[in-house]
């Protein structure tokens, strides 16, 4: 059985959100599983010297337009959040906590968090908002609240980000297939052909 496709993303990344809506169906066409791994790009940017899109002259205004157009192109629901970008430490910790308890539900939770932020304009950087999304998803609020302050979960998140940086992950989404890296939701067409042909 082939190894899973590795899907790295940041909960504050619109292109990561686009990728999250597409990657599993794409991989399933070729009978491949997908492993989701949220990371925090702010930490990665300390290595690359990069910066959040909205802060970059010319590129920032362009990206707002490009995100709106690209979501429409893919038929994905999207409303620009009032606050962007945000810190994603709370949603990341909730994700990795659930990964230790009921790993099969992590993708569902990640989708709920992404849609809260990019469709319902919920600021998931606020711990209580992340907890509310988790509760609506069927998890217990007090368990999530404890998880967000749990040192084991903090260490797990830090370790996942370190592993991602060691693999060369510098953006979102960043997808690795049998060692081959693909950056950006605009590489879905190449991923499709790569999965079909096993490289070219």
């Amino acid at each position: 059985m082939p190894s899973p496709v590795e899907f790295y993303f940041d909960f504050s990344s619109p292109y990561g959100y686009i990728g999250s809506e597409k990657i599993d169906a794409l991989a399933a066409k070729y009978s491949r599983e997908v492993t989701w791994r949220p990371i925090m790009l702010g930490v990665v940017f300390k290595t690359t010297g990069s910066a959040p899109l909205p802060s970059i002259p010319l590129k920032g205004p362009y990206s707002a337009r490009d995100i709106a157009r690209t979501t429409k192109f893919h038929g994905i629901e999207y409303r620009p959040p009032s606050i962007f970008p945000i810190s994603t430490v709370s949603p990341c910790r909730a994700f990795y906590w659930l990964d230790t308890r009921d790993a099969k539900r992590t993708k569902g939770l990640a989708r709920a968090l992404y849609r809260a932020y990019f469709v319902e304009n919920v600021d998931i950087s606020e711990a209580e908002n992340t907890i509310a999304v988790c509760e609506k998803f069927g998890l217990k609020a007090n368990e999530i609240r404890a998880a967000l302050a749990d040192q084991t979960i903090k260490d797990r998140l830090r370790s996942e980000i370190d592993k991602a940086i060691a693999l060369g992950v510098f953006g979102s989404p960043y997808i690795i297939i049998d060692g081959e890296p693909f950056w950006g939701s605009d590489r879905l067409d190449q991923i499709d052909r790569w999965l079909q042909t096993g490289g070219w």
Copy 2:
């Protein structure tokens, strides 16, 4: 008659090269002309605070792989140049000189310069190499040599770059269709749909 598609590119940009091999055929499907405008990204980067790809940690090594894979994906001939990136002042001046003499041949010259650099590994930052490519293309070496030092041509290039920055151009290729900007060779699919539907 609809206005031409505006195609901005840097002669040192592999993604610009990819765009140059595709844009005219794509526009022609919808009976649209394309105006080509070489610019110098190094000047633009002073505004955006960006840097050439190879100098960026993680992103640099990734981009080398991505360029090789993306050219194969599109079936475009490509050999990584020994020196990359380069200054493109000479090819740009040769282009704008020809634009004042025989504008219909500028695209042919641009393609010859791009292929010299990205297929034949000719360092077109060297004035004499650009002159040699122009000569092979059928232009007179002494005329090009004079053009490269001509103040009118220098001013024209500077003015084209200033106009591009004023329009928001920050990368290569950068394509504007009826005011709508598209950055990157990975937006060709969106350009196709945009030309077909007139926006969506």
